[in-house]
Amino acid sequence: MKLKGTVHKYGADVNTDVIIPARYLNVSEPAELACHCMEDLDKDFVKRVKPGDIIMADTNFGCGSSREHAPLAIKAAGISCIVAKSFARIFYRNAMNIGLPLLECPEAVEGTNSGDLLGVTLATGEIRNITRKLVYQAKPYPEFMLELMNSGGLIEYTRKRLESRRTR
């Protein structure tokens, strides 16, 4: 899958409390959560973001709580993928499980600014900075992760597993 969008760039340790503050966790509808996405870090994010845009960040993106509301809010806000130097592990699982692709690529983060136009090819991990005419290579996905993504997320993957158990 090829993705293309404008970059919204952030620093290190962007935590799930600023991605979606707990005062909004009394609901779990993605569209409602999306209205408050990044509110405590970047108040105008929801006004600026356009479908397909890409979030970029330094290390440890998504640290803190296990709230799946965080990747759900980001996905429903229209973000197509996140490129960071590294991700917190629960956030990584959550995002991949719900079909929000994440890529780890420190070089791309270093070489990109907010507002740049980025092209991403998920299958190969190629990241193109279209604005600056630069190409980067993200860490490849482990085989299992590709299988999970190709299934369409963890629930679809689990459904297949349960079916194969039954037919065995």
């Binding site: 340790d13 503050p21 707990a22 966790l25 296990s66 799946e68 509301h69 959550n94």
Partner: protein
């Protein structure tokens, strides 16, 4: 193999596992709360299954916004309650409930050598019992509710050795804040932390729960303690199932070994807005505060309340400070009541609440206004964690929190108890 590797190998049905290896592990218990369960239930229902894999091994605890804080929360709690009753899950209603990570060990539902996953990042608390316990999101929990297993990458283990004897007023909270201050909020990213050494052997179970609880604040997947006589004494009274004790091999390979002189560690305070932003109490300076919270899955146990009581007894909470004390479970509440602690807290001018996660995540029961500062025994001090994005949270142990409540500024217990 390390302790984590030993447990994971057994649960993956393998003789040996090594860091980085992808495994499917059986789970003993799957947990969700009133915030994470609604999404997990919705995802579980997408699988088209009638029943969870084993209702005795799926636990749901209403604790975050319960007793219901508003209509929307009431709807979420209701959705979870109805699913739990219909599926005959292990469920704790208001009146029996507690903050999940205080409640489950107390109820003997999490045991040494087990694999536990929970849709709450502080599920790592159970590492204090020598269990491999880790937090996940709602969809992972939905899948595990269906299959009774989970995919996992075997984490490398970092071994922490705490030498020496702790100073007065220093607890597990100070050791873990010091550690996070030392290695950073991603210092143990994707790794398992193993806590060892003479200072750890001397720690109470309550202090061990506090330390394991905050492994996630260093990015850790789990925070494990070896099982010793204190662990066994704790679980023997409570265990509802048989359990197996695993010990790490003498020749286990660690990713890193980090050693501290625990006798040099003072009570710690983590400044806004990261748990790693720590300072010893002697270097804090003059910081006025508006609120104190003593409780949470980190510090809502009997040791914590007794320590706070040692400082607050016979004192008055500063007239410009709201001091909120929250026992972590009904059992803790009742014990504190019997020991007379709650009466003394109220006499001192504190308020005592029913168990809830409430203020820790800025839910309710102590939300901060813009410009306000709190000293809290909770686990996170991110921007907006406890309310307004313009408020500030300082993390500390119960003794510093109680002393701060009395003096109206961040203070050492030695300034109050002489």
């Amino acid at each position: 193999m390390t302790l984590a590797e030993k447990i994971l190998a057994a649960y993956a049905g393998k003789k040996i596992v090594s860091p980085g290896e992808l495994i499917t592990a059986r789970v003993d218990l799957v947990l969700a709360n009133d915030i994470t369960a609604p999404i997990a239930i919705k995802e579980f229902q997408r699988l088209g299954l009638k029943k969870v894999f084993d209702p005795r091994r799926v636990v749901m605890v209403p604790d975050h916004f319960v007793p219901n804080k508003d209509i929307a929360s009431a709807e979420q709690a209701k959705l979870m309650r109805e699913f739990a009753l219909e599926q005959k899950l292990v469920y704790f209603e208001v009146g029996c409930m507690g903050i999940e990570h205080v409640l489950l060990p107390e109820q003997g539902l999490v045991l040494p050598g087990e694999v536990i996953i929970g849709a709450d990042s502080h599920t790592c608390t159970y590492g204090a019992l020598g269990a491999f316990a880790t937090g996940m999101g709602s969809t992972d929990i939905a899948a595990a509710m269906a299959t009774g297993d989970i995919w996992m990458k075997v984490p490398p283990t970092i071994k922490f050795i705490y030498q020496g004897k702790l100073r007065k007023w220093v607890t597990g909270k100070d050791l873990i804040l010091y550690t996070i201050g030392n290695i950073g909020v991603d210092g143990a990213l994707y790794s398992c932390m193993e806590f060892t050494g003479p200072a750890i052997d001397a720690l109470s179970m309550d202090s061990r729960f506090t330390m394991a609880n905050m492994a996630i604040e260093a990015g850790g997947k789990a925070g494990l303690f070896r099982v010793d006589s204190k662990t066994l004494e704790y679980v023997q009274l409570r265990a509802r199932r048989k359990y197996t004790v695993f010990q790490p091999d003498d020749d286990a390979e660690y990713d890193k070994v980090i050693e501290y002189d625990a006798s040099a560690i003072e009570p710690q305070v983590a400044f806004p807005h990261l748990p790693s932003n720590t300072r010893p109490i002697s270097k804090v300076g003059d910081i006025k505060i508006d609120q104190v919270v003593i409780g949470s899955c980190t510090n809502g146990r009997m040791d914590d309340l007794r320590l706070a009581h040692q400082v607050l007894y016979g004192q008055r909470v500063h007239p410009q400070v709201r001091c909120i004390i929250i026992p972590g479970s009904q059992q803790v509440y009742l014990q504190a009541l019997k020991e007379g602690l709650l009466e003394d807290f109220v006499q001192a001018g504190a308020v005592v609440s029913t168990p809830t996660c409430g203020p820790c995540l800025g839910g309710y029961m102590g939300v901060l206004a813009a410009g306000e500062r709190a000293v809290s025994t909770t686990n996170r001090n991110f921007v907006g964690r406890m309310g307004s994005p313009k408020s500030e949270v300082y993390l500390a142990g119960p003794a510093v929190a109680a002393a701060s409540a009395v003096l109206g500024r961040i203070a050492s217990p030695e300034e109050v108890v002489r």
